[in-house]
Point group: C2
Chain length 476, copies 2
């Protein structure tokens, strides 16, 4: 597998040149740290490329599971180097936490004082999120449907055909996706800049918006700018990042995209719209702000949490327990499959809704025969079972993580919310500690390691990593 890990790490080394250059340009104190990290990453990449076999082997199923988890872990480790070497964080744990949070596009942070932090370090955080977003698009479009993870076989198209013959085609699609991802990022940066952000802020926020990561260059996140037009840009691009990127492919070829006729996309918009409206009405009824501000704040933060980005435009912790509960449940929802967003994802709720409707119908018509389908494709028994297993695993891991966090001394709300927000790769939670204006800095080391686990499990759709823990995987 080293022949594939090598180029991936080389890609990271290539990206790391950017903060090196920025550090050099500004004479940053982090320059040495970045050069050392660059040397270590490039060296390791070279070693992997040299020792790896050259010829393309036929990848077995098992290899793909292992490759996926290993490459993610590898990037988290090497990506953490600048944090440790520059003493930006106080401990090894914090460095890994920040790195995992970035690469999984979670956006939970242990850092404060972002506003006065060297630009190279801010850029590195944003770039890691951008890279993580790219990785998850590739994974969700090509690899996971092929591996049949969590019901994603529903989206098993030509893009995930790994037969010798179809490989060039899969590669072409992945290249096109990279192009689209980069193009949307550039568009987003331009839009942010036009809306009033500095060039540096625009580039950083574009990368963390399109990856639905949610890191910011300011401690107070998007609230720092206090600008309706910037929030509008963010809303549009968070939504664009939460739809299946495959739906953009026809646009490249000058064909009409099925973007707005896609039922998963439609449901996503509907859910966010309903939640944002209910929340806005709640905020208005409890007399907290005027109507325009209520809709603006509600829409921004609902889209931000829903798409699992995690930007914060206002301290909604002051909206009371109904709002807190809403944001807590919204954490689980997530965006569409094949996008950069996390969570349980819309299509799984849609499948569950199909089963729910069928169950009600079956009670009334016990002898009827039901044909299940979604988006014009049959919902096989296998897909339904996978979705059920995924949901069970998601809930169980959130539960287990919450108990471990409680055992580590966190209060009930923080434990539950931290487990959920990291598992869904959202970022901010609810409660006094990790709420919209808080950070994860004060948690104990044990807590942070638990959360590194949930972030990675959540990002890799659980089973990719879980399978590695079964004896069966290593046996055959």
């Amino acid at each position: 597998m080293r022949f594939l890990l090598g180029p991936i790490l080389a890609g990271l080394a290539l990206l790391m040149l950017a903060p090196c250059a920025v550090a050099l340009y500004y004479g940053s104190p982090d320059l040495e740290a970045f050069l050392l990290s660059e040397a270590a990453t490039a060296g390791a990449a070279l070693l992997l490329v040299i020792t790896g076999r050259r010829r393309i082997l036929h990848l077995r199923l098992r290899d793909m599971f292992l490759l996926t988890s290993t490459s993610w872990l590898m990037i988290c480790v090497f990506g953490a180097l600048p944090f440790i070497l520059s003493h930006t964080v106080e401990s090894f744990t914090d460095a890994v936490f920040e790195s995992v949070s970035a690469v999984t596009t979670t956006g939970a942070t242990v850092l404060t004082g972002l506003d006065s932090m060297p630009r190279d370090m801010l850029l590195w955080r944003s770039m890691m999120q951008w890279l993580g977003g790219l990785g998850i698009i590739a994974l969700g479009t090509a690899v996971l449907p092929f591996l049949r993870i969590g019901g994603m076989r529903l989206f098993n198209t030509e893009s995930s055909d790994f037969s010798e013959k179809a490989l060039p085609r899969a590669r072409r699609i992945l290249n096109q996706l990279l192009l689209i991802y980069a193009f949307i990022t550039v568009l987003c940066a331009i839009a942010y800049n036009l809306a009033g952000m500095s060039v540096f802020d625009a580039i950083n926020h574009a990368m963390t918006t399109v990856s639905t990561g949610g890191f910011s260059t300011h401690d107070s996140s998007i609230a720092y700018f206090d600008s309706g037009s910037i929030e509008l840009v963010a809303i549009v691009f968070m939504l664009l990042a939460a739809v299946p990127f495959m739906l953009y492919l026809p646009l490249i070829l000058g064909r009409r995209s099925g973007l707005f006729s896609d039922s998963q996309v439609q449901s996503m918009f509907a859910i966010y719209l309903v939640v944002a409206t209910v929340l806005a009405i709640w905020v208005i009824l409890t007399d907290q702000v005027d109507m325009f501000a209520a809709f603006r704040d509600s829409t921004f933060n609902v889209v931000s949490i829903g798409t699992t980005t995690g930007f914060v435009s206002t301290d909604y912790a002051g909206w009371g327990s109904f709002a807190a509960m809403t944001f807590f449940f919204l954490t689980f929802v997530g965006g569409c499959s094949g996008s950069t967003s996390g969570g349980i994802k819309i299509f799984r709720f849609k499948i569950a809704a199909v089963m729910f409707h069928e169950t009600l119908q079956r009670l009334l018509h016990p002898n009827a025969v039901f044909a299940r389908s979604m988006q014009g494709r049959p919902l096989t028994d296998e897909i339904v079972a996978s979705v059920m297993a995924f949901s069970l695993a998601f809930a169980s891991i959130v539960g287990i993580a919450a108990m471990l966090l409680a055992a580590a001394g966190n209060d009930v709300v923080t434990s539950f919310s931290a487990a959920a927000t990291t598992m869904a790769n959202v970022g901010p939670g609810i409660g006094d500690v990790i709420g919209p204006t808080g950070t994860f800095a004060s948690l104990t080391d044990q807590s942070k390691w638990v959360l590194c686990g949930t972030m990675l499990l959540g990002r890799l759709e659980i089973f990719t990593m879980l399978l590695l823990l079964t004896p069966d995987f290593w046996r055959a």
Copy 2:
């Protein structure tokens, strides 16, 4: 349907004679209230019997759904009469809440000052729980599997054959179940009495133990007695009440019961044992009490919450957030199907575990064929879908109820915990308000009505009532 509702209400009127007699004997101030309630209930029953058609009609599927929900609601309403008429509670809402909590065997209460309350009223609360327990055994054994509710078709045996020919047999089984239920209650009362309870306390606690209801005659619940032997009796009978009562049938006929070889029962014991042990170790490690007390308190309260009884032997709110979280998750587990306990129930977790295992295996062996079975019966696609729909509905309703409770002004922990503990028919929750030593008295009226809804939905396995809310049900 009135020809069936009549006898059910007549049964309630018959039971109500007991508190009437007790009130008469002690010259209780509640005598008038009970006599009035008795008159109203008996009168209504008579009216239903007279106006109802005599001959036994063939019950359609729809009628059985309607009959189930209607009879439960009817008993809740008439059972609430003594509370209102005697001014034991302050409002109509409180009376209905207490009554619903009793009949659904939840055991959440709005009452304090139980220790000085007239005996007739205490007896009535206990008797309603006992009746509710009997009702749920009949429903869970005979009706719900026939109606295919929430995957319970898995337990569709001869007992739920409602064809003309099989009806006498079904009736005989139901009579045998009543006998067993009564027998276990008597045994439990004797055991409590031998362990040190007064005759009155023993009778009351026997009725609320065997129904896994959890009402007590003392504000401090079982902790009042501070007796290891009483707690031991409670543990044994709570467990006996949480196994499928059908498994006791062979004992009547002098045959060996498959009680301990039943995989659902085994899993239940295993789950409680693991949770109680982990919790005891936690309590010991955090140096809160000595080893013996830790295991005693942990075992009692885990069995009490696990079986959805809700007795409290110690204020475990002081054990910290890890314990709180443990009890919160345990709330959802519940006992076995066909018992008096509530919750999601063990067999559904077992089915989910089967699906989980299958999904992991399928990832490694994509072309293998999997045959699902449980307890020697095939797990059909329909059962799996039902369980999935049930779990989704359970989680959704807990979520919606929690949001309504939060909107009514409750804090996050209370809202979430109240929704869960009522939906699972447990009783006590976590947090400062409804924790082990608290009551539901201080909640707003809106909150209490929401909780009446969750108690009934939870007790009737959701779909029985949910179906009545669909237009389709009334159309055909």
